[in-house]
């Protein structure tokens, strides 16, 4: 497939936003049961939630560039019964809304205590909103992943690893950003976020590596023989039916060299996984915000390469009909 930058930015930016929100909510729930010290509502949960929201808005803006007719985008919420894309279109504003409410509640101190146990632990309204936000964040991750995994003849995508990778890669980048944010605004939580960021990144390495191994062994179900229905081992396309190309020759192939393709693969395998893990570790040791921010930026750049590769690697069976490009 042709990797469109609108979709690359959409999926990576909302991944960061969702992951950062999951990190904030994890911190607040740990604090609620006194596993970690509680943090300032406004400067940590409130501000952090707004940062997550900004990432989601960035993703939403990027997605508009993918649409031919963005003014009709509201219609895309109607077919949620059958279309994962429609489900994503519904889930995204719900997640954004919940994260927005969550941040506003923290930022302006609108939170109330709903219940206090005998031991003194409290259940706050923001925890309920946060829990809903977490639920819909996972729904959104699954919708995003299933948009690709649901197309069965794109064999590189049609696999449970696709939504799993979306969940783990998004969460990893969000936790890395949370570690950088915590190092300046909530040093108590640096260890929690840094360690989780390393663990999730390591898991993502296993699942993304697993999908690379799986994809390298795929045997294409469709062949030129099944495409035109002629049983002969030697079939060569001589004409595609047009002179200057068409959407079919532009939209379904990356048009880059095999070397470029390989370079991207190795760069994302290095930039997304080992480099951020090393930087996270050293940032946790030194408490340096710039090192941790560096870890996030490098991981995010790596994720852009990862997403480019994700699209470029998928080989659409329609390319069998367009072989003389």
């Amino acid at each position: 497939m042709h990797p469109a930058f609108s979709v690359i930015f959409l999926t990576t930016l909302i991944g960061v936003g969702q992951g950062l929100f999951l990190a904030l909510f994890t911190g607040q729930s740990y604090a609620a049961v006194e596993l970690v010290p509680s943090q300032d509502s406004a400067t940590f949960y409130g501000l952090g939630g707004i940062i997550a929201f900004v990432f989601l808005v960035g993703g939403l803006i990027a997605s508009v560039f993918h649409l031919g007719r963005p003014e009709r985008a509201w219609r895309s919420a109607t077919q949620w019964r059958t279309s994962w894309l429609s489900r994503e279109v519904i889930a995204l504003p719900i997640v954004m809304g919940l994260i927005f409410v969550y941040s506003i509640m923290h930022y302006f101190g609108l939170d109330t205590v709903l219940y206090t146990s005998k031991a003194g632990t409290t259940l706050q309204l923001s925890l309920i909103v946060g829990a809903l936000g977490m639920l819909f964040t996972f729904v959104l991750f699954i919708c995003t992943g299933m948009i690709y995994a649901a197309i069965k003849f794109l064999q590189e995508w049609a696999c449970a690893l696709t939504p799993i990778n979306y969940i783990l890669l998004g969460t990893a980048s969000g936790f890395t950003l949370a570690a950088a944010f915590a190092s300046s605004n909530a040093p108590d939580l640096l260890g929690l976020y840094g360690n989780w960021a390393i663990i999730i990144t390591a898991f993502a390495f296993i699942t993304r590596g697993g999908s690379l191994i799986r994809n390298s062994r795929i045997k294409a179900k469709s062949t030129i023989q099944s495409a035109i229905g002629i049983r002969h081992p030697q079939i060569q396309q001589k004409a595609m039916g047009m002179q200057g190309g068409s959407v079919n020759t532009r939209d379904f192939f990356h048009h880059k060299t095999a070397t470029f393709f390989k370079i991207i693969k190795w760069s994302f395998m290095i930039l997304v996984f080992p480099v951020p893990i090393i930087l996270l570790w050293s940032g946790m040791e030194s408490g340096s915000t710039s090192t941790l921010l560096g870890a996030f930026i490098i991981q995010y750049v790596g994720l852009i390469a990862e997403r480019w590769f994700f699209f470029a690697q998928a080989n659409h069976p329609q390319n069998l009909y367009y072989q003389t490009t």
Binding site: L85, K152, Q237, S246, D251, P317
Partner: protein
């Protein structure tokens, strides 16, 4: 239930592109609006088409065969492009099984074109909506046309009658008989899309000439041309029975 479809005979198609030009002409002039052409007279002309004719070479020289392969939307019975549409712009008509796009609802997200294994959908780069073969839905039901012309433009244009049009669910229709008796097949059956359009394979028509067909052994002329026999000696039956 009716399922309108095309049956394309690869044995007859000569690759003249008459169906392509006629399709483009009809559909670019229709009520649904023009079909974009970019750079039509320039170096790399490109644009939106519903139908294209491709050419394949089968075999190794000198034992090769050129196959011209017309390719348009197959109007799948289980069309994978329809359920993925987020707006409902893409739909399959209950009435006749034609897969259509509502150009007023399409948001141009291209997801349906990803979900079509045949590459039958092409986005109109100027109008920013997805376009595809309509089986000339604005023509086949038009009662102002003579009945013989209520067929898709490509079918009418084909000089060799390589394109048949009809209801593949009616067992007695021309298309069903052709599929049944001439070995009609579907493209990429491995994905379970069950395309309605079928293709008829190349068929070799061999001529068998036997020796006795060149030299007729039982030619009655051979006997007739034998000269008449001379006068018969003695009495004949005629002599004794004539009175």
């Amino acid at each position: 239930m009716t399922q309108l479809a095309l049956v394309i005979d690869l044995n007859v198609c000569v690759g003249c592109h008459a169906c392509v030009t006629s399709c483009k002409e009809w559909n670019t002039s229709g009520p649904a609006g023009f079909m974009t052409d970019e750079n039509p007279y320039g170096k790399d002309p490109t644009g939106t088409f519903f139908n294209r004719v491709q050419t394949y070479e089968v075999g190794e020289f000198p034992k090769t065969e050129t196959v011209h392969f017309p390719k348009s939307c197959l109007h799948c019975e289980d069309a994978p492009c329809v359920p993925v549409c987020p707006t409902g712009a893409s739909y399959k008509r209950e009435k006749d099984g034609i897969v259509l796009v509502d150009y007023d609802k399409c948001i141009g997200c291209r997801y349906c074109s990803w979900a079509c294994p045949y590459g039958a959908r092409e986005i109109d780069e100027e109008q920013k909506v997805m376009k595809k073969c309509t089986l000339c839905v604005d023509r086949i039901y038009d009662e102002s046309l003579p009945e013989a012309e209520r067929k898709p433009a490509c079918v009418l244009a084909c000089p060799t009658s390589a394109r048949l049009f009809g209801d593949v669910h009616d067992a007695d229709s021309d298309v069903s008989v052709a599929i049944r008796e001439e070995g009609g097949y579907q493209l990429m059956p491995e994905w379970g899309t069950n395309p309605s359009n079928h293709y008829l394979p190349r068929r070799k028509t061999h001529m068998h000439i036997h020796e006795d067909e060149l030299q007729r052994a039982d030619n009655p002329l051979n006997k007739e041309q034998r000269g008449p026999s001379g006068p018969v000696e003695g009495t004949t039956l005629d002599d004794s029975t004539s009175w």
